[in-house]
Point group: C2
Chain length 110, copies 2
């Protein structure tokens, strides 16, 4: 099938999964880390930084932009991409809620 049955899960569960999915590829992790490191970016840099072809990088950037985690503005012939800080903070809250579930009550039954 290859198609997740999203309708049987809560909005929050689907949201967590969507964010996680976009982090589920090392190229996108790498892109985000690089954007954090240099604070602003031109796509060409990324193609050199990461060893993938330009259309591949462009595709990954599109996914990140689609989820709102980065924003990009055209500057002449190049495009300036950077982290969308407000949305990153919102995403982080959602993910932290999931990661920080209370572990103290878990009995080591197994």
């Amino acid at each position: 099938m290859g198609l997740a049955k999203t309708e049987m899960f809560t909005d929050q569960q689907n949201e967590i999964a969507l964010f996680a999915k976009v982090f589920g590829h090392p190229a996108r992790v790498s892109i985000l880390q690089y954007l954090f490191k240099i604070n602003s970016c031109i796509c060409g840099d990324l193609v050199n930084q990461i060893g993938l072809a330009q259309p591949t990088i462009s595709q990954h950037l599109k996914e990140l932009k689609h989820l709102g985690l980065i924003k990009g503005n055209v500057e002449g012939t190049s495009v300036c991409y950077c982290i969308h800080t407000e949305n990153w903070i919102k995403m982080k809250e959602t993910m932290l809620q999931f990661l920080n579930q209370d572990i103290s009550k878990i009995e080591d039954c197994c």
Copy 2:
């Protein structure tokens, strides 16, 4: 291709991506949340809780177990699954390092 070029990324980037990938499906998010909620579990419960077929749940559990996020012990005819607390904490540290990257220095250039 469908195949990520992991060799061109750092171990840390690949590790983050692997953890994120497993959270990239709402069924697995749901399973983990349920395990946190009740602190111990029998697989049959999950099949009722989540609306997917038993083999599908079993497959998702396998992926979670493979990454070490849950552990399962056979108890008679059923299997008791629960959160692997030590590994969960380790995973959380890795993910937090990624999520908590310093956002304060980012200039709103775009």
